[in-house]
């Protein structure tokens, strides 16, 4: 293999990594925003992607038969996901948070994840479902158009979210609540409304992530959110959980690492560690990050209070 070929392959892998990474980043944002506000690892977040994917599965054919562009169904998916997220928060997390401990909140999150997965299985069956084509773009500069579009959507959404969080009143309130709940209550911020809004935005991002995922894989199952969610979660921890730019960086890094490790780990280690270990490598990164710098790349250190 010549150097040029090697370089092309490398760039190809990095672009693929960015595509997967932007999906991870959008999901990681949901984890991190919720964690920032209520200090809860929302295990059900991965399953919001599944909810979004199923709603795409049902609405894409409708859109096509109505003669509208298929991607418009993502609007419905965002609405469905946001509603699911808010319902989960209102029906399960909020009552538990009111009187339970941190542990019971975490268990509730796991329970909601199981609930969504099994509800989907009961309603739609366990077999994978094929979603119709949403985009079919031509190759561009030797890269698949769909891949580039996925990255573009990811970037646009991330920039939009950053602007929202930084410059709008709602975004400022969100940051204030995550900084200090009581103080922001005293400043006249309706904390419950902010929490609801955070869930809605986080889940909406998951719906967009599910669109990006489906463009690539065209498949929906009730368990699709588990592994996707776990990996995005690794990304959120890597970037510093609770930190919004951190989640974006973490997601992209995890995507690139996954793509590169799949491509290069086997030749680099002489076939001892094969690409099948790439998931183990991701979790290995998680463990190293947690041990070396639990606050992640961009997280801030907080002192321990007695």
């Amino acid at each position: 293999m010549s150097v040029v070929d090697g370089l092309t392959l490398f760039i190809q892998q990095v672009i693929n990594g960015l595509r997967v990474g932007s999906v991870y980043a959008l999901i990681a944002l949901g984890y991190t925003m919720v964690y920032g506000i209520i200090r809860l690892i929302n295990f059900a977040h991965g399953d919001f992607i599944m909810v979004g994917a199923y709603s795409l599965f049902f609405t894409v054919p409708l859109m096509i038969s109505a003669g509208m562009p298929a991607w418009l169904s993502v609007i419905i998916a965002v609405a469905v996901c946001a509603t699911t997220g808010v319902l989960v928060e209102k029906l399960a997390y909020k009552p538990v948070r009111a009187k339970g401990t941190k542990m019971s909140a975490l268990i509730t999150a796991i329970a909601m994840s199981l609930f969504l997965e099994n509800l989907a299985q009961t309603l739609f069956g366990a077999n994978p479902k094929q979603v119709g084509t949403i985009f079919s773009l031509p190759m561009l500069l030797g890269f698949s158009g769909n891949t580039l579009l996925t990255i573009l959507i990811g970037v646009v959404v991330m920039v939009g979210l950053s602007l929202y969080v930084k410059y709008t009143k709602g975004g400022q309130a969100m940051r204030a609540v995550s900084e200090d709940k009581n103080a922001s209550m005293l400043m006249g911020i309706n904390v419950n409304r902010i929490i609801t809004r955070t869930f809605a935005i986080g889940s909406g991002l998951a719906a967009i992530a599910s669109l990006m995922y489906i463009v690539q894989y065209n498949q929906v199952t009730n368990m699709m959110g588990t592994m996707l969610g776990l990996k995005a979660f690794v990304a959120a921890v890597l970037g510093g959980i609770g930190n919004i730019p951190g989640a974006m960086v973490g997601g992209l890094v995890i995507g690139i690492v996954e793509s590169l490790s799949k491509a290069y780990i086997s030749p680099l280690t002489g076939g001892i560690i094969t690409s099948a270990f790439s998931d183990a490598i991701l979790f290995g990164i998680l463990i190293i990050v947690l041990l070396v710098k639990p606050t992640g790349i961009m997280g801030e250190k907080t002192g321990e209070k007695v």
Binding site: V96, K99, L106, A111, Q121, L230, F283, G284, L291
Partner: protein, 352 residues
């Protein structure tokens, strides 16, 4: 003094209770009530009980969520299966003196438990520097790593050892059909764990759960006790894994040990009550038997569990039993309304 006497008597009564259970088992078995189906469910109860109680050590007594318990079970299962396979092959080749299935199983089980404990130690030392959410995540991460590695080890698939292939199920594992041995292993495991939480170590662990900073300023080596508990917990998960591997199907699949499997046991512990061995035992048995009885509702099972779990977290976060422990001795005392020392005689009569 009296207290000590009571404790001995309580122990005797419990032993008697176990014997009664054993006799019931024997009667059911000798009247032909133990076909392979029932035996399978029984085995399932046994390893579920050990898994739930051992997870309860970490969740209930140490007060930390561990989401990778199935990983230790996998280590125990695969180690024990490979050991019994090796012994079996050795016997066939004539290099090892023939020994009974039961001794093979015990050797495999001990190896499995020890290797699982070693993994518990290796995982625990780094992981237990973290707490709460972070510990939950890191154990999840370790559990997944264990599964992925097993999935890709050449000897963990196919016929095992030399001629395996990654990604396949391990087949041809010895079948352990002696339910009395399994029952005894379960009872002894639970008894040891119960003794552990009631010992000096157990009290130290509970002190750490209540307030680790206070415990550490009282001179307890917090890290030591945390890692110790984690290792003990992993050891028993290894035993449960060994039972699982030899439960009579003869196969092991890496996909048996996913994150979902770990959450199964978390559900058992949480429903039963974190900090109640009684609760863990009862929910483990119930959640193993009920799905078999309610086959028709199988697809709604997990749906129901998750709803119950959420409702439980809202209305009774401590679980069904809280930290209550069932004691046959105290129950009998209550029934016969006698003073502790006298009650023992009537209790013995009642038990027999």
């Amino acid at each position: 003094m009296n207290d000590k006497k009571n404790r001995t008597r309580s122990l005797l009564v419990s032993l008697l209770g176990v014997c009664v259970l054993g006799v019931v088992l024997l009667l059911v078995d000798s009247f032909g009530g133990m076909d392979s189906y029932i035996r399978g469910i029984f085995m399932q109860c046994c390893f579920a009980v050990i898994m739930a109680t051992s997870l309860n050590l970490v969740m209930g007594y140490l007060g930390q969520i561990a989401l990778g318990h199935a990983g230790f079970m996998a280590v125990g299962a695969y180690t024990s299966a490979l050991v019994t396979k090796a012994i079996g092959l050795g016997i066939k080749a004539g290099t090892i003196a023939p020994i009974s299935n039961v001794s093979q199983f015990f050797i495999g089980m001990l190896c499995g438990a020890l290797v699982a404990a070693l993994f518990g130690l290796l995982v625990g030392i780094p992981a237990l520097r973290l707490r709460g959410d972070y510990l939950a995540i890191i154990t999840l991460g370790f559990g997944e790593i264990i599964r992925v590695v097993i999935q890709n080890l050449p000897f963990a698939g196919g016929k095992g050892l030399a001629n395996g292939q990654a990604g396949q199920a391990l087949i041809g594992i010895m079948k352990m059909n002696n339910i009395y041995i399994i029952f005894a292993v379960t009872v002894v495991s639970v008894a040891i764990m119960l003794a552990f939480v009631r010992s000096k170590f157990g009290r130290a662990i509970i002190a750490i759960r209540e307030d680790d900073i206070a415990a550490s300023s009282a001179g307890l080596n917090v890290t030591y006790y945390k890692v110790l508990t984690f290792t003990v917990s992993a050891f028993f998960a290894g035993i449960a894994g060994a039972i699982y591997a030899h439960r009579g199907l003869g196969t092991l699949q890496y996909s048996d040990f996913t994150f979902l499997k770990s959450t199964d046991y978390v559900i058992m512990v949480v429903l039963g009550g974190m900090g109640s061995m009684t609760g863990s035992v009862i929910t483990a048995v119930l959640l193993s038997v009920l799905p078999e009885m309610l086959r028709a509702f199988a697809q709604y099972r997990m749906l129901l569990y998750s709803v119950i779990l959420v409702i439980m977290m809202i209305f009774r976060p401590i679980g069904l039993f809280g930290n209550y422990e069932f004691s046959l001795y105290h129950l009998l005392l209550k029934w016969f309304r006698k003073k502790p020392i006298e009650a023992e005689q009537s209790a013995a009569k009642g038990g027999a």
